[in-house]
């Protein structure tokens, strides 16, 4: 060490070590260099964009959000008119994406758990069919699957010759029409939904309370009976009260029916071919991934747990529901959440089959609004969604971890 000190000028050493070999110096130089590089790149991009805005007179800013969008949106879950503003249209598109994601997530999880459990079935036929399902739907691009379902719907007979099931469900090349609850006054419906939700929450709390008492005291307390009764009674009372005060039921079931000379279906809820194909495609594609996650999760549970449960006399189904699955959940939840996020992001393929999701509407908007602003909006929207998913996942994870020993 003394040698290096004497042969090198002091300026080239730090703490007696040549600076090009000093770990801290190297690290800080690397950090500063990479930081500068990135700052330089970003500044260069901004400079170029600013130049382009000035030279080519490219519009920017967010004032367009107040303007009328003036473009129709195919299927939408919020009421929408072409005279509505860009901001509202963006919200309508975001709600489209959110609704598709939530419905898709629920269906894909249910189907995925079913296929994943079937994959581990002791029944050879069931296990092999589940394997075939997984290997096929997982390995074919979602886009191809979407087109396939979309063209199947398009190839259905036209509206007047479509299939009718029990005068309630209409299937034709415009999509599927089903009965759906609607309300005349939105406020009354919301109040009733809130009351019903409160009833369910109250019933659940009572159920838990009575169960605890039953365990503590040994007296029969009928938790299930009381819980369900409270939920039903609260919901029914609220329904009657709102009907009496508001002069009409909060929700009425609207049934689809053909109207006019062209037999157009009105009433009920019509899922357009695009929405239908999107949901089927997303659910089948994602469920094949979820099935693999569920399988891995179940297989990760110690065999001894299952053997102990069987030795205690639990049925195979009871073992799965009360012993295997709760433990498997700990392994399943993190990748499951990321599949939910994938489903949400994959719903952006909707544009290919004519469903107006966030990306599709944003793409159309760039024709009449500044692309830079649209890009910022859409990035923010998707990042907000993915952050929500991570938040839910983290919360759930934490709860599971506390419960574990």
């Amino acid at each position: 060490m003394l040698n290096t000190n004497t042969t090198l000028p002091r300026a080239l050493t730090y703490q007696g070590i040549p600076i090009w070999r000093h770990a801290q110096v190297i690290q800080w130089t690397a950090q500063i260099a990479s930081g500068f590089l990135v700052v330089f790149l970003v500044a260069w991009f901004f400079f170029n964009i600013a130049n382009a805005i000035e030279d080519r007179e490219i519009p920017y800013g967010f004032s367009f959000l107040e303007r009328a969008y003036q473009t129709p949106i195919g299927q939408h879950f919020l009421p929408y008119e072409t005279s509505d503003t860009f901001l509202y249209a963006f919200g309508v598109a975001a709600v489209n994406t959110i609704v598709v994601s939530i419905v898709g997530v629920i269906l894909a999880t249910a189907l995925g758990i079913f296929v994943g459990v079937a994959r581990l079935s002791g029944n050879w036929l069931v296990a092999k069919l589940a394997l075939g399902y997984i290997e096929f739907f997982r390995n074919v691009p979602l886009l191809i699957q979407l087109y396939f379902w979309f063209y199947i719907v398009l190839a259905l007979p036209p509206v007047r010759e479509g299939y009718v099931i029990a005068d309630l469900v209409y299937v034709n090349n415009a999509g599927i029409s089903i009965p759906f609850p609607f309300s005349d006054g939105l406020a009354a419906a919301l109040v009733w939904l809130a009351a019903a939700l409160a009833g369910v929450v109250g019933g659940k709390a009572l159920h838990q309370r009575l169960t605890e008492r039953e365990i503590d005291t040994g007296q029969a307390s009928y938790p299930l009976v009381w819980g369900v009764t409270v939920a039903v009674v609260v919901g029914a009372l609220a329904w009657l009260l709102i009907s009496f005060v508001g002069g009409g039921a909060p929700l009425v079931v609207s049934e689809p029916a053909p109207q006019g000379t062209f037999g157009r279906i009105s009433g009920g809820f019509t899922m357009s071919g695009g929405l239908l194909a999107l949901l089927i495609g997303l659910v089948m594609y994602t469920s094949s991934f979820i099935a693999e996650i569920v399988r891995a999760g179940i297989q990760s549970v110690n065999r001894g747990q299952i053997e102990a449960a069987r030795a205690l006399g639990l049925s195979p189904m009871g073992t799965l529901r009360q012993v295997t699955f709760p433990q498997a959940l700990r392994v399943i939840i993190p990748p499951l959440i990321s599949q939910f996020l994938n489903l949400t992001k994959n719903s952006s393929l909707a544009g290919a089959i004519g469903f107006a999701d966030l990306t599709n509407v944003a793409k159309t908007m760039t024709q009449t609004a500044p692309a830079i602003s649209i890009f910022i909006l859409i990035m923010a929207a998707y990042l907000a969604m993915s952050l929500t998913y991570s938040l839910i996942g983290n919360l759930y994870n934490r709860r599971l971890r506390i419960a574990s020993r």
């Binding site: 950090q31 036929l125 398009l154």
Partner: protein
């Protein structure tokens, strides 16, 4: 009644009863082990048989796959060899020459690997390609020259094998270098060189078909892997600036759908560069797909690094290895080995994602099929929508062969490396 010889029960055990062995025993154990399982087998079997019956009768009798012959070479190379893409010339030989290079390299890899899975792949691919020469209908402008070039893949394989066997080129290093060189040469060949006869430039806008999917996938896989490793190491480093940059990059690219990024790459990225900066739409798409994949790759590799026992790195440091050698020689190889399934899964996802380039107007095999199918329908060349289902089933099968092949190879590599055993 004949006299039954008494078995010697003192030394040999009785054979299991007939109902427990053979096909009957297998069925009893796997299909009819309880009343519940029997019912399940009967119901599921009936439904599966019904579906298979209708599916097969449609597939074999009603389905009309002539649409695939109608599209023909378009499915393989898009508009590359049409009058639009390559006017007045036959450009089919260029992608075919690239196939020959692939066959040669496969032959060399066969020698280097010395048999096993590599040998099977090396033989299968050229043979399948050569079999295309015997298709009854013509691929796009498919004359005898096209068929001969397809057949030439077999001699090319043998040439590669001979090169590997009898020259000094038979090492992994040369095969790797030649592969990279071959890929660059392939790009130059496809793009063409202005002024050189026979190599008339073809705009990247006319690259298409399965060729485009494979090009994007290969480039994406090769480039995203090292970037992903760098990002993963950056995210785990204790240098705050580097870590922050990597986290922001990964989370932004993972948070937004690829299709949104691709679309914006067409609208925004040109603005972020000076005018007439040499960035064509294909290159932009390739960069976006690669970076997107790299962000996911980084998370996979980070998972592998986190799962690694810290004792490994500590032992390496205790042996006196400097930090970067600890990472490159000890941590990374083990981490990567542990997450091979996730990495290959990401490769598969990338290959499937190449079908998203439709959003920027590139005609890959999926978009080309959709577009031409609807055009043919509009022009009355196909009955309305009748053949579109067949077309998409065919596409699904094409993709499935590639992706399933990849996951099969991944499984073999895993077993070869003893994942989960060591």
């Amino acid at each position: 009644m004949s006299v039954v010889r008494e078995p010697d029960t003192t030394t040999t055990a009785l054979p299991p009863p007939r109902s427990e062995t053979g096909a009957v025993g297998w069925m009893r154990a796997n299909l009819f082990s309880s009343w519940y399982n029997t019912a399940l087998t009967v119901v599921v079997g009936a439904v599966a048989a019904l579906v298979a019956w209708y599916g097969l009768s449609w597939l074999l009798i009603d389905a009309d796959f002539s649409v695939i012959a109608t599209l023909g070479g378009l499915l393989l190379i898009g508009q590359y060899n049409t009058e639009v893409g390559c006017p007045g010339q036959n450009c089919f030989w260029r992608p075919q020459f690239i196939l020959l290079m692939v066959s040669t390299l496969l032959g060399m890899a066969w020698v280097v690997a010395g048999g096993g899975l590599t040998k099977r792949i090396a033989i299968t691919v050229p043979v399948v390609v050569a079999l295309f020469a015997f298709l009854p209908y013509g691929l796009d402008r498919m004359g005898w020259d096209v068929r001969l070039l397809l057949l030439a893949n077999l001699p090319a394989l043998l040439l590669g094998w001979a090169l590997g066997r009898y020259t000094l080129l038979g090492t992994w290093r040369t095969v790797a270098i030649l592969s990279v060189g071959g890929f660059l040469l392939a790009l130059v060949l496809l793009r063409g060189i202005p002024g050189v006869p026979g190599l008339q430039p073809v705009s990247v806008l006319h690259w298409g078909g399965l060729m485009l999917n494979l090009l994007l996938a290969v480039a994406g896989i090769v480039v995203s892997f090292p970037i992903g490793i760098a990002l993963a190491l950056g995210r785990r480093s204790n240098l705050p600036v580097v870590k922050l940059l990597c986290v922001v990059f990964i989370e932004v690219f993972r948070g937004v759908p690829l299709i949104t990024l691709l679309f914006m790459s067409q609208v925004l990225v040109p603005l972020a560069f000076p005018e007439n900066f040499p960035l064509n739409s294909l290159l932009r798409a390739a960069i976006i797909i690669t970076l997107f994949s790299a962000a996911y790759m980084a998370e996979n590799i980070r998972g592998g690094l986190q799962a690694l026992h810290p004792g490994q790195a500590e032992a390496a440091r205790a042996l006196g290895l400097p930090g970067w050698q600890t990472t490159m020689l000890i941590s990374l190889p083990q981490a990567i080995r542990n997450v091979i399934p996730a990495i290959v899964g990401q490769f598969i996802a990338l290959f499937k994602d190449t079908s998203l380039v439709y959003i920027i107007g590139m005609l890959d095999i999926v978009e080309l099929s959709r577009k031409f199918a609807t055009t043919y329908v509009e022009n009355g060349m196909l009955p309305y929508l009748d053949n579109v289902r067949e077309l998409f089933i065919f596409l699904a099968l094409v993709f499935w062969i590639f992706t399933y092949g990849m996951s099969y190879i991944s499984g073999r590599i895993e077993r070869h490396m003893g994942v989960g055993e060591r």
